[in-house]
């Protein structure tokens, strides 16, 4: 454990440090899907666009694998967060029907 790892934030949305990710890997969460859900990174407003690849690299290094051996999580729509009101069926939309 290094102080750098404790202070380095991998997931900026959820404040998850490199150390927390490494700890979870060494607890046995050695696939990216379980790791993400256990350590709880990649679930914030950026939806993992910042941290998933970082975490995948950490996971690869810690478990002696290459990046292409690590299954990455499904990217879910929307690409960026959108206010729910944007999707509300308005009067105009009804008129078009």
């Amino acid at each position: 454990m290094t102080r750098e790892d404790e202070k380095t934030i991998a997931c900026r949305c959820e404040d998850i440090s490199v150390q927390e990710i490494k700890d979870a890997i060494h607890e046995g969460y050695a696939d990216l899907q379980s790791l993400k859900r256990y350590a709880k990174f990649g679930l914030g407003p950026c939806q993992g666009k910042t941290c998933i690849l970082l975490a995948a690299q950490i996971l690869a290094r810690e478990t002696g694998r290459t990046l292409d051996q690590i299954m990455t999580p499904t990217t879910r729509p929307p690409l960026d967060p959108v206010p729910i009101g944007f999707f509300v069926k308005g009067k105009e939309a009804d008129d078009e029907k």
Partner: protein, 378 residues
């Protein structure tokens, strides 16, 4: 993985893990859970995380009432915070007919120990201050209903089961099961073969396929149900809100999570659709207008494994001794997990569960003894 176990559980969602944990707790420790992908990767990890006892059928009411008793203590039981919260369920009814029906349902639930009640618009507004009181006539409320965090529940059960000696194998797909003359089974997996005395089928959407390997035809339909999560917000919502097929709640992490039915019966994919977003947004903002300004962060989908009477199949198969079912929940598998874990473990270990659930047996379909349930949401 060893080459033989007393009991093989197929499926690493809440059902399989809860059964494994409850078996081990009873001293029945020669158990392995086989999961084709990662734990919670099926319907458990995709679910809406709600837990309720406000059903209309007596069987579901009793089972969920017992389940809620277990959920309250589950974090202590497992030694892991699964974030259960009795946030309550508030159903909103918007026609005089639905309000009348709700009054009968409440009376029936009360008779079975679920002390739900009818609330007027003002009382509903006190429970959920964000509600638009023009969007309904009356509410139906039960404060012991709640929510828990699915992945933390999976982690809690898996860690506790492992501590008690259960083997949990991920990325281990069952490709075939053979019964033998000596009433044992050979389970063929992608990691090798296993001999076992008992097989528990807790494979969620994969249950029909697993049962077919032993010649059992589970009469299930897969329906696609979509769901979304918003950005995390300070706690503001309060209860789980339900109106017709719409439901949503706010998790302990602050995200609003919920869905509505898009009518995708007999689905063959769980892709997300734009139609879901417009239906959900319109319905959700009608009852809580301030949601319009909240950002939607992601959407996904999962399967409801729907049985002909919307009740699960629980217990042994008469024709295949040693083969047990815990599947077909029709959208209620997560909330039932703890009680199913206990009762199925009792079936396997003792031959008889502590609550009579014989009427949930697979044989009811052949006999035409279907159960009734009308309160299905999402």
């Amino acid at each position: 993985m060893r080459s033989s176990y007393d009991c093989i559980i197929v499926g690493g969602g809440i059902s399989g893990l809860a059964i494994a944990y409850e078996l081990a707790k009873r001293g029945y420790k020669d158990v392995a859970v086989l999961e084709e992908c990662y734990l919670g990767s099926g319907s458990t990890g995709r679910c809406g995380s709600g837990i309720r006892a406000q059903f209309t059928g007596p069987d579901q009411i009793v089972l969920l009432r017992e389940a809620e008793e277990m959920w309250v203590h589950m974090s202590d039981e497992l030694g892991y915070d699964i974030h259960f919260k009795a946030c309550g369920y508030l159903f909103l009814w918007d026609t005089p007919e639905l309000v009348e029906k709700a009054k009968h349902d409440v009376e029936f639930q009360n008779k079975h120990g679920v002390m739900s009640c009818i609330v007027d618009r003002q009382e509903a507004k006190e429970i959920c201050p964000s509600l638009n009181t023009d969007s309904f006539l009356a509410g139906q409320w039960y404060d012991k209903d709640g929510m828990a965090f699915p992945f933390d529940t999976v982690t809690g059960y898996a860690q506790a089961a492992r501590r008690l000696g259960v083997d949990i194998l991920t990325t281990t797909d069952v490709v075939g099961i053979e019964g033998t003359a000596a009433h044992t089974f050979t389970v063929h997996t992608t990691q090798g073969n296993i001999e076992t005395k008992n097989v528990v089928n807790a494979a969620g959407p994969g249950s029909k396929g697993i049962a077919a390997m032993l010649g059992v035809d589970l009469p299930y339909r897969l329906d696609k149900h979509q769901i979304m999560a918003t950005e995390p917000l300070e706690q503001f919502l309060g209860p789980m809100l339900v109106k017709n097929s719409l439901y949503y709640l706010q998790t302990h992490r602050g995200n609003v999570v919920g869905g509505t039915d898009t009518g995708d019966k007999n689905a063959t994919d769980i892709d997300s659709t734009f139609e879901f977003l417009t239906k959900f947004a319109s319905e959700a903002c009608e009852i809580v207008p301030r949601l319009a300004g909240v950002k939607l962060m992601r959407q996904w989908a999962g399967y409801y494994v729907v049985s002909p009477d919307a009740h699960p199949v629980l217990g042994p198969i008469d024709e295949v001794p040693g083969f047990f079912q815990a599947n077909g929940y029709s959208g209620h598998g997560f909330m039932m997990g703890p009680i199913v874990g206990r009762l199925l473990a009792e079936y396997v270990a003792d031959g008889k569960p502590s609550i009579d659930i014989e009427h949930y047996n697979f044989r009811r379909f052949a006999r035409g003894e279907l159960l009734t349930e009308k309160a299905i949401i999402g």
